[in-house]
């Protein structure tokens, strides 16, 4: 039986990257459609705890490898191990979430396997040997159906398009393997984490985003976000200006979000920003400019100054609670 191999990602803090659960769900869907088995691979300094966590995700086997070299992720160290396992298992598909790590790692794995790859897939179509993938192009203005014609196919998975895997009972078998490690020309130097008490942007059910209209003053954005238990996002312009950290950027090249409620304040709505938030369930746009393109995707638009609207919005929501 052919195998779908999904890479589970460990964050620098040792916890599982939540997007991996969505990728595993996509892997399960793919395995069902292709008539294949779902396997996971987890590389870590100490994989035992996360392997336990992954047992109930619907995978048949979790392959774990432990090595001190896995503490800090490096494409050159991880790619040969993942590709080697894929070859040993004769996997037909290799995938992972489209995180920074997934996007860095998978093409290198694909290159080793001489495999074609589809980035950021949002859908899996067909069955048996006739599987195709849907993926965005031109900043999400076009969705393409693509077929990969190499014996092994590699995919990165857009997490927001698949519900996280859960509830399959702790039935997966855990198998450890001894990876052959290659010398790396790349060394890890440091990681500067941006810490936030708010929920992670890609996982939050409500996102409040600010754009150029904030003129760099995010106090009102943050206050509303905290009232709603929301994550804070931003347009590219405000990240480029250094007003907020880069990892808050929502868009084509930033993060893709799909919360229940997305509030865009002072954001004009460039194509690149819309690419990152158009799948949100309900979109609210607040902008002084009635012609701003953001109003074309907003369910509710309010033409006014965000510095007047946001405090009033907070007050009325507080009254509801």
């Amino acid at each position: 039986m052919s195998i779908v191999l999904i890479v589970a990602e460990q964050q620098p803090d040792g916890n599982l990257r939540k997007a991996s659960l969505n990728a595993i769900a996509a892997g399960k869907q793919l395995a069902d459609k292709a008539g294949a088995e779902l396997h996971l691979v987890l590389l870590s300094k100490d994989p035992s705890r996360l392997a336990e966590e992954l047992k109930g995700t619907g995978a048949k086997v979790i392959h774990t490898a432990a090595a001190p070299e896995f503490e800090h992720y490096l494409a050159e160290v991880y790619a040969p191990v993942v590709a080697g396992l894929a070859q040993e298992l004769k996997a037909s598909f290799v995938g992972a979430a489209s995180t920074a790590q997934g996007k860095d790692l998978l093409p290198r794995v694909a290159a080793r396997l001489k495999a074609a790859m589809a980035t950021d897939i949002t859908g899996i179509n067909g069955s048996g040997a006739d599987i195709t993938f849907t993926r965005p192009m031109w900043a999400g203005n076009v969705f393409a159906e693509v077929k990969l014609t190499t014996p092994v196919q590699v995919i990165s998975i857009r997490a927001t398009e698949f519900s996280p895997a859960a509830g399959a009972g702790a039935s997966a078998e855990v198998k450890s393997f001894q990876p052959k490690l290659e010398a790396s020309k790349t060394k890890f130097v440091s990681f500067n984490e941006v810490k936030s008490a708010r929920p992670e942007l890609t996982e939050a059910s409500v996102v409040v985003s600010g754009g150029r209209g904030t003129k760099g003053d995010f106090k009102e954005i943050e206050a509303l976000a905290d009232l709603l238990g929301a994550a804070v996002g931003a347009s590219r312009a405000v990240c480029d200006a250094g007003w907020v950290p880069n990892d808050l950027q929502v868009g084509q090249t930033g993060k893709v979000v799909a919360p229940k409620l997305y509030i865009a304040a002072g954001i004009s709505g460039a194509i690149q920003h819309l690419a990152g938030m158009k799948s949100s369930k309900t979109i609210v746009a607040i902008n002084k400019d009635p012609e701003a393109p953001i109003f074309q995707v907003a369910d509710y638009g309010l033409v006014d100054d965000l510095f007047k609207v946001l405090p009033a919005l907070r007050e009325s929501i507080q009254k509801l609670k």
Binding site: Q11, P12, R17, A79, A100, Q101, D104, P107, R108, A110, A111, R112, A116, M117, A118, D120, P136, M137, W138, A139, N141, V142, A144, K147, L148, T149, K185, T186, V189, S190, F191, N192, E193, V194, E200, R236, D240, A241, G242, N246, D247, Q252, T253, K260, L261, I271, Q272, K278, K281, T282, F295, V297, D299, Y300, G301, L302, V303, A312, S316, L320
Partner: protein, 265 residues
């Protein structure tokens, strides 16, 4: 120091992209073309590195005759010479990386700089494929700690920093939840993220000079690369349109709608 930089030809990122009714392609009429914005950041970074460490910047593009426009643009920014891989017809990331591998083996650069993705297919793959094909280290999504408004940006100091022994580079990378720093031995592949730098405008003397700079022509057959695509694009479609929204007159109406209609507050 020798730096090889890519300059892909893409639709202007501000263009409205529409799909043909039969889903075979996008509507190309009336579109303007540019150098891929991420590649332009790569050209800028290459120029800064070359200026600081006395080096040469060689720019490469793959496509029909029209990609010479993007090569001339990079030459006008200050690149020393250009390589045009003449190929018309479909190409995928495996083919592109295969061609770039041969060009890199011929040119033997210390660094290959590529945009982290191109804004047409958004694949984000070629740099990583290339690094593996060459057996080199990679640093993707190169960014920087300082904002674009900083003094450092104004002084145009490279954000990719060469080590004292000139055998490696330190690269700050944009990753989830923060910035990671790697040290990569040369030769290396670096892919550029948005905030690495602000590309310069081509000056008028630069544009004049670019006209006389050499463009070398190569072909996939000459390089010995089979570029038959392994990724078939079967069909293009527009994303489902969002149902038209409404404008609300005031905050009270907005909250009422969010509470009673959308039930999200």
């Amino acid at each position: 120091m020798k730096i090889l930089v890519t300059a892909k030809r893409v639709e202007d990122p501000e263009s409205k992209i529409k799909v043909k009714p039969d889903g075979s392609d996008i509507v190309k009429e009336g579109l303007k073309y540019k150098i891929n914005p991420f590649d332009e950041i790569g050209v800028e970074e290459g120029l800064r590195l070359a200026a600081k460490h006395t080096g040469e910047v060689v720019v490469v593009s793959i496509g029909g005759k029209e990609v010479q426009e993007q090569l001339r643009h990079a030459l006008a920014m200050g690149a020393n010479r250009a390589i045009w891989v003449n190929h018309t017809g479909p190409l995928d990331q495996l083919g592109i990386a295969g061609l770039l591998q041969k060009v890199a083996e011929k040119e033997k650069p210390d660094v290959v700089l590529l945009g982290k993705q191109s804004i047409d297919d958004d694949q984000n793959q070629v740099g990583q494929y290339l690094a593996e094909f060459l057996g080199w280290g990679q640093a993707t999504f190169a960014s920087k700690v300082e904002s674009l408004e900083s003094d450092q940006e104004k002084n145009k100091v490279p954000a990719v920093v060469l080590s004292a022994d000139k055998k490696s580079v330190q690269v700050v990378r944009e990753v989830d939840n923060g910035l990671a720093t790697l040290e990569v031995q040369l030769p290396a592949v670096i892919t550029t993220d948005l905030r690495l730098n602000q590309p310069r405008y081509a000056s008028l003397p630069g544009i004049m000079k670019a006209k006389s700079k050499p463009i070398e022509e190569l072909t996939p057959a000459g390089l010995g690369v089979d570029v038959a695509p392994k990724i078939q694009v079967l069909k293009l479609a527009s994303p489902p349109a969002r149902k038209a929204g409404i404008k609300v007159p005031d905050v009270a109406t907005l909250v009422e709608k969010l509470h009673n209609e959308a039930k999200v507050v």
